[in-house]
């Protein structure tokens, strides 16, 4: 990783040849300030990305939990798929695909409509229609083949 740090009295670039061992025990005020600046820059760089991923995952899990709880007595996939939480998952678009596929790996459930709506494909063979474990397997295999998992 290469990071350029702007410092009131010093500019430095941290690359692979930098002696990181020297950061462990800052020997001077300048070294200490440089170390703090590096930590702060690293945090600002990493935190938004991690926060965004965590936010999407959290959003998906909350919607999935709501959908499962409120549709468990519905005998109609059509009706289940019209549930607002399910529709919001579809609305997440392609970013929801890995979450949906991981859910299918964890426990086969009626996420097929959502996956079909988002991807436009249906990898379930006719002979496996209605068989949840086999439908889930077809989608997981599709996900692996298409590098979604």
């Amino acid at each position: 990783m290469t990071t350029a740090i702007a410092h009131p009295r010093m500019q430095t670039t941290l690359g692979s040849d930098f002696d990181y061992e020297s950061l462990r025990i800052p020997q001077s005020d300048d070294a200490r300030k440089l170390f703090e600046a590096v930590c702060k820059a690293t945090k600002h760089f990493l935190a938004p990305v991690l926060a965004q991923e965590n936010d999407l995952s959290h959003r998906f899990q909350e919607l999935a939990k709501t959908w499962r709880r409120e549709s468990q007595y519905t005998s109609s996939v059509h009706e289940m798929s019209m549930h607002p939480a399910y529709q919001r998952i579809i609305g997440m678009g392609p970013v929801a695909i890995p979450f949906l596929l991981k859910e299918l790996q964890r426990r086969p459930d009626h996420w097929f409509w959502a996956l079909n709506a988002i991807t436009g494909v249906d990898p379930v063979p006719e002979s496996d229609r209605g068989n949840l474990p086999k439908m889930a397997s077809a989608w997981v295999n599709w996900g692996i083949s298409n590098k979604k998992l």
Binding site: Q72, Y73, S75, W113, N116, R129, G130, L132, M135
Partner: protein, 146 residues
């Protein structure tokens, strides 16, 4: 079990105080239409990716009746159990077909409640709620399978 009964009664208040019993654990792998036709291995629904007998795929009642007809069922008038016959009751609401139940030899009926449990109950005890009313009953001679 008590928790399951309470949960079912909260969603089907017309079952409160009625004599129904839970006859299976929760299972999201089959629905009421599959269970009524005697199939607990698949989810039956006339939509993409799901199993439906070789007949018209539509969410309207005639399509459900046609699907059962391919399995040897024909309309009948009586809700009473008839020896030597399988009977299925189809419920509808303004949204269309919502539920199916199968007659049992003891005069009661068995239903799969969505993705949840199977129950044994009186047919009329599931009417009047989200499932609507029984719109038709169909029967066939027993010993025919899907």
């Amino acid at each position: 079990m008590k928790e399951a009964i309470a949960r079912i009664e909260s969603l089907f208040p017309q079952l409160v105080g009625r004599s129904f019993k839970i006859t299976s654990p929760q299972d999201n792998g089959y629905n009421c239409f599959a269970w009524a036709a005697g199939d607990s291995s698949r989810w039956w629904e006339p939509v993409q990716s799901y199993f439906w007998p070789r007949s018209r795929r539509s969410l309207l009642l005639p399509a459900f009746q046609e699907a059962l007809a391919t399995l040897g069922f024909e309309p009948c008038e009586s809700r009473d159990f008839e020896d030597g016959h399988d009977k299925i009751a189809i419920f509808t609401s303004p949204k269309g077909p919502t539920h199916a139940a199968r007659a049992l030899p003891n005069g009661r009926w068995t239903s799969k409640l969505g993705q949840a449990e199977d129950i044994e109950h009186e047919l009329s005890d599931l009417e009047g709620g989200d499932y609507g009313q029984v719109a038709c009953v169909m029967k066939r001679k027993t010993a025919q399978s899907p």
